[in-house]
């Protein structure tokens, strides 16, 4: 049970970012590796506000806004001029972007490990489970955010428009949808989710500039496991990755937690390339 709780806590950190990642993938068909760097930025943004004396939740709101803005800016400067290039090229560019963002953070904040200004409290126990109040917050906020985004995509006009553009942008455009504006909305939403995940990661883990790779791989793994393109799948994928990570920590070796994402990606791609909830993608 304790293991399950830990797994859900890990999943709660990954889920919003995995949904954001999936959103970008369905809209533009490329793997944005900068997701880890953007999450790290979110963690630093929230931490910075916290350092200035604001409460953590305000730091989180700032991180969400900052993440949205940063992703939109990076899209306008870096990715938009490259639309239509191959997925591999865009992935390469996003890795370069990731290195740039990491090093900007390193430049500005150094390599020290930071943490939010949290009061030290003994962990709570309930039904034999040990957890901190922060863990509860992380899980609660993540579930709320996931449900909200799911509802947005499923029930609102914007959600319908986003799905239409992702499905077939030119058709959506013919039907009179303002495609560039909808794409921008999608980017803002994804960036906000990255910022949120970053804040949650900061609550749970240490905040340092070397976090990016450790964050990016499980997030991308969660999205792939869930079947790229399915937000619900991405959330489910996050739970599976979280569970696999905790099982690794419990039964194999804690340091190899970082390899879990990779192994799971490899397995899924071998056995069920379309992911759990995805449909097979036609070749070319």
């Amino acid at each position: 049970m304790q293991l399950l709780l830990n797994a859900i806590a890990s999943a709660a950190i990954l889920a919003p970012a995995a949904i954001g990642f999936t959103l970008i993938f369905t809209l533009f068909r490329y793997t944005n590796f900068a997701v880890g760097a953007l999450m790290t930025t979110g963690a630093f943004a929230a931490w910075g506000m916290n350092e200035l004396g604001l409460p953590i939740w305000m730091g989180g709101v700032f991180a969400v806004v900052f993440g949205a803005g940063l992703l939109l800016a990076s899209d306008r400067i870096v990715f938009e001029p490259l639309r239509g290039r191959s997925g591999g090229t865009l992935l390469l560019v996003s890795i370069a972007l990731s290195v740039i963002i990491d090093n900007v953070i390193r430049f500005a904040f150094g390599t020290q490990i930071r943490a939010f200004d949290l009061p030290l409290r003994p962990p709570l126990t309930f039904a034999g489970l040990r957890f901190t109040p922060e863990t509860l917050w992380v899980i609660g906020i993540s579930i709320l955010a996931t449900l909200a985004v799911g509802a947005l995509l499923a029930f609102t006009r914007l959600g319908r428009a986003l799905r239409a553009v992702a499905d077939n942008a030119s058709l959506a455009s013919i039907r009179g949808l303002p495609v560039p504006r909808i794409e921008a909305a999608g980017i803002l939403l994804a960036g906000a989710l990255f910022g949120l995940s970053g804040t949650l990661a900061g609550l749970d883990l240490a905040i340092e500039p070397n976090l990016s790779l450790a964050l990016a791989i499980p997030v991308i793994a969660a999205a792939i496991v869930g079947g790229l393109g399915s937000p619900l799948g991405a959330a489910l994928g996050a739970v599976i990755i979280g569970l696999a990570e905790e099982l690794t920590v419990a039964f194999i070796s804690a340091p190899y937690k970082g390899a879990v994402g990779f192994v799971v990606i490899a397995l899924v791609l071998l056995i069920r390339p379309q992911g759990l909830l995805g449909r097979p993608v036609e070749r070319k």
């Binding site: 591999g88 992935l91 890795i95 090093n103 790779l213």
Partner: protein, 307 residues
């Protein structure tokens, strides 16, 4: 200054081999290997373990590095070779990160973060300090030339043509009866083995390797070399590696001009510059400094797959 130049050129030779190796995988065949450092690190540690832990001569260390690197490449590609570009890229990245974790945690084998000391060097005994450095440079340049000649011949051979065809559209060679998977596997194994050789050379040159030597940033430098030089062109890969080393090492000289920055900041600034340049090159000159040249008429579209 002289010693510094020799050191830079020695490092450059290692990057030339890495860029050539990536060129056969990505440049010719279109396989996106972002796990360059994984194979590079495997080669470095294999060679170190062979010469130090097992006490074998250095040539055997290099050979072991090539074999183990090739095997690792074979395994990774068997896992993922059927995948299209992006997914292969992610699997290889994950492989590199997993290897780094292994280097860090398998203390009994790699001595973990404290670093693996390697006493064996590719020199003959009894040379002075300066002469030793020059000798090592000579060995490295020779190795780079051998790798260049072999891969360049391969690139121009029928084998290389099939690889290019696979890169452009794997249905066509498949229709002509070529076993596309086998060709991809061979290209990947060849490249990985060459990366491992580069790792072996590097390990015996720097003599202390730590897991931190094998981070994604190194892979970015190698990719930068290939993209700047011109993917698909072996000469381009060499030129690219030299240019990138010049930029990377050249920015070191900026440090005294900016004394108000800490060493961490200077190092960060170098990677900001390298990353930005990579994006700029991809956007404005995707074919690189020396674009791939193939007999005219055969390709109406001069933009290589990198574009």
């Amino acid at each position: 200054m002289d010693a510094y130049l020799v050191a830079i050129l020695t490092t450059a030779a290692v990057y030339v081999i890495l860029a050539l190796a990536l060129n056969i995988q990505f440049g010719l065949t279109g396989l996106m290997n972002f796990g360059v450092v994984g194979f590079y690190g495997v080669g470095a540690y294999t060679s170190g373990i062979m010469t130090e832990t097992l006490g074998q001569p250095i040539l055997l260390g290099m050979l072991a590095a090539i074999v183990v690197g090739g095997l690792a490449g074979g395994l990774v590609s068997l896992l993922s070779i059927r995948l299209s570009g992006d997914f292969l890229a992610i699997v290889t990245l994950g492989f590199a990160e997993t290897m780094r974790l292994a280097f860090n945690n398998e203390d009994w084998l790699t001595r973990g973060p404290r670093g693996f000391l390697i006493m064996t060097r590719p020199v003959i005994d009894g040379l002075g300090r300066g002469a030793t450095a020059w000798f090592i440079l000579g060995v490295f340049v020779l190795a780079a030339i051998i790798v260049f000649v072999v891969l360049n011949r391969l690139a121009g051979s029928p084998f290389g043509r099939v690889l290019r065809a696979i890169r452009e559209d794997d249905l066509v060679p498949a229709t002509l009866g070529k076993n596309v998977l086998a060709y991809r596997l061979q290209a990947f194994v060849l490249g990985s083995a060459a990366m491992a050789l580069a790792g072996s050379l590097y390990a015996h040159y720097v003599q202390t390797i730590t897991p931190d030597n094998f981070t994604t940033q190194v892979a970015v430098l190698v990719w930068m070399s290939l993209i700047v030089g011109g993917a698909g062109n072996m000469k381009g890969a060499v030129v690219g590696a030299l240019v990138v080393t010049a930029i990377y090492e050249g920015t070191r000289f900026l440090a005294p001009l900016m004394e108000f920055l800490t060493p961490t900041q200077v190092s960060a600034l170098r990677f900001i510059i390298i990353g930005t340049l990579l994006i700029v090159v991809v956007r404005y000159r995707p074919e690189g400094l020396l674009p791939e040249r193939i007999a005219p008429r055969s390709r109406p579209d001069p933009v290589p797959a990198a574009g």
